[in-house]
Amino acid sequence: MATAARKAPAKSKAKSDTKLSSALSAPAPLDFDKSQELDAYRGMLLIRRFEEKAGQLYGMGFIGGFCHLYIGQEAVVTGLEMSLKDGDQMITAYRDHGHMLAMDMSPRGVMAELTGRRGGYSKGKGGSMHMFSKEKNFYGGHGIVGAQVSLGTGLAFANRYRENDNVCLTFFGDGAANQGQVYESFNMAALWKLPVIYVIENNRYAMGTAVSRASAETDFSHRGLSFKIPGIQVDGMDVRAVKAAGDMAVEWCRSGQGPMILEMQTYRYRGHSMSDPAKYRSKDEVQKMRSEHDPIEQVKARLIEKNWASEDELKAIDKEVRDIVADAADFAQTDPEPDASELWTDIVH
């Protein structure tokens, strides 16, 4: 009796949820006004120039170990950040520089962490893949593929528990989407209706393995369906489409309807890390994405077409961004290395 009573509402609920998720489709790209276009342009350019500089510093030996550049994927974090409000969180994997810049963390602090200096966000203890900012609600930077997904789910739980209406953007890649704990997290998030947006940055390659070689279901927006988590596929190279999807997902989460999945279809221009010669794809493929879908060029073209900015004005923005990045790079090269005693601070005894 009791079982039947419990079953009945669950069944009817399942029906309506299934209908809901299949009815969802990606919203049309927003029309940006002039200031939005300029903000997006500047934000994406900052990430690109920062990453180019990081690549140079790596080549010069200032950055050791691992360094994963975000070049090509700038529209994803830039567009999504435009949908957030104070207190919303981000957590991601190891390709994290763009997320931190989008969350307004200081370029100096990020670059100095890459070079392992005192002024780095983790005082040189974390490096490229592991840094955080409580102040800016950035929860890292995680080096283990997929591990941050459970953490992001927990952050969303904390939001609910504290009865704020903040959402947690939990980023992971197409590769991480095959980790078991992702699905354990999906189940909990849907079960408890947690305000978490799972952003799957599908850049087509898990290091050197193309999506089709590692994933039985390559439509990642469907990955949550058996947990009744709705998902949509988004053109992650178009910052307006990203923002539209972000608005929709944020509203969904804030209104207590539980998690949502956004599959951002994007592309990384550089290798997986600095040591990856990227032999698993053709140069033509990369060139085609660059010339036809570049997120920054798209905004630039609209700004010029609508007479919202001249070439000179855009150059001035580039100059301003380059100065910020040059200052960060100078700082990251001259800031002292941490004292040896720092090895023994922030330790669990």
Binding site: G65, G124, H130, G143, I144, L343, I347
Partner: protein, 337 residues
């Protein structure tokens, strides 16, 4: 005989094994098409086909679990975990299933799998690409843990591991892939092509699991080391001028106690060296073995030189890594003690 890097030796061991036994299958993240992040499986998919050398999703629990199932049903899976630091999601499968299958089926089933994983630091990998988790495996009854220090051993031990009927954790010190790194990070590393132990026989040969090798004979004290630290210890002996006997354990479980006891009984002093953190590290087991078996031969306390009990650092890598200076100081201390 061919001069091989450790990467080439490992690849050759897998190649030889796949060629001899069609039950050998090789898989992991980026292992097939890409050839492995450190290139240890390059060309094998082309040679043996996608059914024998293939990519997996990024699912360490699944990789280990699937390998156990394959092994239980007669295959000889060689699974790669891309970095030892990534093995933790698969740890439950390793401990609860692989290590216990033989016992709980009363010998009906075994888990003849090899789980290869690059380990250790020295490449600025920070806390998630530098760890030495060997003690997590040596503590588990039912697993064998192997860690070569050179191409000759890497090939011979890996072939032995693939032919073994029980689960083997095969740790590959990644800093040694291209040369015998001795801890002097500011000096160039001699490539394996110029090192005697880069010389590896072609075709099939084995190095027995459970046998240590004496890398340097000496009478003053015994150094117990494995992996990268073998080369660091040899350098420390040279630089301090102390006539140390350096033993390369090669296999941690089963441990070659006989070789250890013979050496310490002769020298009366012992220093244990490893990269991993100190507390409950494998060095603690070694020190306990030595004091239990050689107590009346000892003329000084058994010393340990290890990584610190901290997360593996980023900027402070060379303060953490127990290099030749730190090992040298311990050798001197053991001589005075």
């Amino acid at each position: 005989m061919t001069r091989r890097t450790m990467i080439e030796a490992i690849r050759d061991a897998i190649d030889v094994s796949m060629d001899r036994d069609e039950k050998v299958v090789v898989f992991g993240e980026d292992v097939g098409f890409f050839g492995g992040v450190f290139r240890c499986t390059e060309g094998l998919q082309k040679k043996y086909g996608t059914h024998r050398c293939f990519d997996t999703p990024i699912s360490e629990t699944g990789i280990v679990g699937v390998a156990i199932g394959m092994g239980a049903y007669g295959l000889r899976p060689v699974a790669e975990i891309q970095f030892a630091d990534y093995v933790y999601p698969g740890y439950d499968q390793i401990v609860s299933e692989a290590a216990r299958l033989r016992h709980r089926s009363a010998g009906d089933f075994t888990a003849p799998l090899v789980i290869r994983m690059p380990c250790g630091g020295g490449i600025f990998g920070g806390q998630t690409h530098s760890q030495s988790p060997e003690a997590l495996f040596t503590h588990v009854a039912g697993l064998k843990t192997v860690i070569p220090s050179n191409p000759y051993d890497a090939k011979g031990l890996l072939i032995s591991a693939i032919e073994d009927d029980d689960p083997i954790i095969f740790l590959e010190p990644k800093r040694l892939y291209n040369g015998p790194f001795n801890g002097h990070h500011d000096q160039p590393v001699v490539p394996w092509s110029k090192h005697d132990l880069g010389e590896t026989p072609d075709g099939h040969y084995t190095v027995p699991i459970g046998k240590a090798a004496v890398r340097r004979e000496g009478s003053a004290l015994t150094v117990l080391a494995y992996g990268t630290m073998v080369h660091v210890a040899l350098t420390a002996a040279e630089e301090t001028g102390i006539d140390a006997e350096v033993i390369d354990l090669r296999t941690l479980v089963p441990l070659d106690v006989e070789t250890i006891v013979a050496s310490v009984s002769k020298t009366g002093r012992c220093v244990v060296v490893h990269e991993a953190t100190r507390t409950s590290g494998f060095g603690a087991e070694l020190a306990a073995q030595v004091q239990e078996r050689c107590f009346y031969h000892l003329e000084a306390p058994v010393l340990r030189v290890t990584g610190w009990d901290t997360p593996y650092p980023h900027a402070q890598e060379w303060n953490y890594f127990p290099g030749p200076d730190r090992v040298g100081r311990a050798l001197k201390q053991a001589m005075e003690g």
